[in-house]
């Protein structure tokens, strides 16, 4: 490196830094992809909410579906609930994980506000939530027809999230599973 060129080195390094920082402005540092992306659901066997049957990961296989983590203590879940009902009415299969909750309170919530879920897994101790890497409710997982996790959304699923993020992925998975 020539002696004059050497003097430009700080400027070049700074330019690289500035580009990185500019890219950084467009990123959300708190957004976290699930560690389970493209991996099958962890095996589990837990009781169904309100029924005396045991559910396993195999019960969610067959078609692309949403797996929603919710609880009665979670304020945002109440905000999200009406939209999940709309999605269920459109025929989107939604399974629920009632996360670290009281069965009676959860049953009461469903009776009162309506039930968008095909079934609910009663994860009273949060063990399934832990294996899924759940760190708060609500969280919504998009599963493909084989029960493999394809996407996770943290926070409320609303019109915007569904239209811009989840629906395109869901349709893609659906055409793929319908094709063969």
């Amino acid at each position: 490196m020539g002696p004059r060129l050497k003097l430009f080195l700080p400027l070049i390094l700074f330019a690289l830094l500035a580009i990185t920082l500019f890219r950084g402005l467009g990123l959300d540092p708190s957004e976290m992809p699930s560690a389970l992306i493209d991996r099958p659901l962890p095996p589990f066997s837990l009781p169904a909410l309100g029924q005396a049957v045991a559910l396993t990961e195999a019960d969610m296989v067959g078609q692309p579906a949403l797996l929603n983590v919710w609880a009665t203590w979670c304020v945002s879940c109440r905000v999200e609930h009406p939209y999940l009902k709309q999605l269920a009415e459109q025929g989107i299969p939604i399974f629920g994980i009632n996360y670290k909750d009281d069965d009676a309170a959860a049953q009461h919530w469903l009776d009162e506000l309506g039930n968008p879920y095909r079934f609910n897994i009663a994860d009273r101790e949060g063990t399934l939530g832990l294996d899924l890497g759940v760190y708060g409710a609500p969280e919504t997982y998009l599963l493909d027809a084989e029960g493999v996790v394809r996407y996770r959304h943290v926070g409320v699923v609303d019109e915007k999230v569904w239209r811009t993020i989840l629906e395109p992925l869901y349709q893609q998975l659906k055409t793929r599973s319908d094709a063969p």
Partner: protein
Amino acid sequence: MRLLRLLLVITLALVAGPALALIETYEFSKPELEARYQQLSEELRCPKCQNQNIADSNAPIAQDLRRLLHQQLEQGASDAEIRNYMVARYGEFVRYRPRFGGATAILWLAPVLLLIAGIAVLLLTLRSRSTRTTVSGAAGLSAQEQERLRSLLERAEQDA
């Protein structure tokens, strides 16, 4: 829509604000386990919080992870097993001590490389500066001038 966003902001603000460490009173069967508990809980990042380890965070998930850590330690899991268990569920993000390998190799090597580069520059500078001494340094002065220079410099140094 606006109300919804407002609600979100409020709920997030409640969980994400600077929360205080909840003091828990886990009992350990062996004192070594308590030391390892302290070390690991400071090394694992709370997935939900603003840059806090699970030891210092009050978030529900941090409490769950501390309980889990306590359980696993009591069951005899090794540090590596516990770290891998957490990473399998929450990703590399939970490790405040990034593993060595792949993209993070450069992170661990950077200080060493920088230091080597720094030492190289230091040695090159020293070499070029010290050879010039005999060419254009004080050697170019007459004996009388050198004497005067030395006395001036000494006085200057006393000043410093």
